[in-house]
Amino acid sequence: MGYVAVKGGIQAIEESIKRLKYERLKKGTVLKFQEIEGGMRCLIDQVMSESSLYSETLAAMAIKQAEGSPEEAVFLLRAYRSTLPRKHYSRTVQSEEMSVERRISSSFKEVPGGQILGAANDYTHRLIDFDLNEETDDEAIAWVREYALESGVDNDQTDLSDLPKTLDYLREEGLIPTCEINNNEPDDVTKESLHFPTSRSQRLQILTRGQTGAVTSLGYAALRSYGALHPTVGELRIGKLPIYVNSPFHDQKEDEDAYYIGEIKVTEVETLFPAEVQKGKGEKEIEFEIGYGICYGQNETKAIAMSILDRCLETGNPEYPPHNEEFVLLHIDSVESTGFISHLKLPHYVTFQSKLDSVRKSKK
């Protein structure tokens, strides 16, 4: 099948782009980046996660340009990202180093360090707050000032930047198999195209940058019917991870010689899957397997769904689509899926005409 170049639409395209600008501005409102950064936290987190580029300011710009369309904003950020050099790789980040802002477990009531609710919609009534229509900048500033003056707890010595991992206690009890530290260098899906079967590092990289809706839907499908799983969230934590980069001009990769460059907010989930394990003499035992999910920003549903899909893909049952790595990994990327669907809008005059000719001939 060949493509045929056509011309003649330049003026129409220019006018179409003007219409797009008109649609963005016609109500006479110009959104400031700071307003988007300040008030669209969750959308910014989603866009940063799906574009795999952490920058709240760039995400706010992309959201403004895209008029709030996450798929368009992700496209813009991925395109911008491709113009920048990758200067360094960070030192390995680990969630034990997280400065925790929220941490819950649905498996254990009394987790070491406690259940810390932090900021979440889970405990709200989900009723539209019509008072927000009257909210003013002055009121907001006054509320924040008042909140800052409220005293915090003074009798709790918990160090939120050194919270133990809940599942480590299960490991110590022998209820979860321990595994050796694996220092194999990860594969990078942005450098090499994907071949099946994939490595674990490729799967995790694709899942963490997957489209939120797609990851959630496939995770839900895995729970609902395809494999009848019912995992439990061992630990969900949200907080900031410090990022360090080794000095590029010193041979020794000393930890203390590293550069601190800032911190990123992430959501991390470890999910427990009970599994029957065959022991000797026909005996069976229940053991727990772990699914792992993590994503930029606060996006709990995506991180939980990722942990489910991680476990599904580790099991790899070809009977169920959510356990099939080709099915999952090739369909959850925002730019790939929306790009391919969108290409159907582009002119297909020649191919469609040839099909039409075939239909006409067959009717004769």
């Binding site: 990758r86 960070s90 406690g114 409220e150 915090g152 709790d156 939120l160 694996n182 990860p186 470890e270």
Partner: protein
């Protein structure tokens, strides 16, 4: 003071501190620009907890700058688009690498700033800890 600790203080703290320290050096030494502040990416390598393996979490936008003082290179690297801060960090890094006398007096300044950052962090943690659940089992 080791680089890991001082860069954390200089980035987490007030931007006035690196601005003041860098100015002190620029007033007394020739600072040669090797690389103007420019944007780039840092790929984050992470360790997951299920299998303890490594993977790439995604990239972070950074600003990087390189300068030279007395033949010693300094690098400034910071998350986001912060060209001025990256430049100041590079000057301070070069000053430490060149063991300039001024850096001896900086320890005190940095410790004061670190103390302020730690206090702020403690206030933040105390607020977050107000959301910790105290479970009471109901007698029903």
């Amino acid at each position: 003071m080791i680089r890991k600790r001082r860069t954390r203080i200089l980035i987490k703290g007030s931007s006035d501190v690196p601005a003041k320290l860098a100015q002190e050096i620029q007033d007394s030494y020739e600072v040669k620009k090797i690389e103007e502040s420019n944007n780039g990416l840092v790929m984050i390598k992470a360790r997951e907890k299920a299998k303890q393996s490594l993977f790439y979490l995604g990239e972070v936008l950074v600003t990087e700058c390189k300068v030279m003082i007395n033949g010693f290179l300094g690098i400034g690297m910071v998350q986001g688009h912060q060209p001025e801060l990256a430049h100041n960090l590079a000057v301070i890094d070069a000053a430490y690498n060149a063991s300039l006398a001024e850096t001896d007096a900086w320890k005190k300044v940095l410790l004061i700033e670190e103390n302020r950052i730690n206090k702020e962090n403690q206030t933040f943690m105390n607020k977050v800890l107000k959301t910790k659940v105290n479970f009471d089992t109901m007698n029903v």
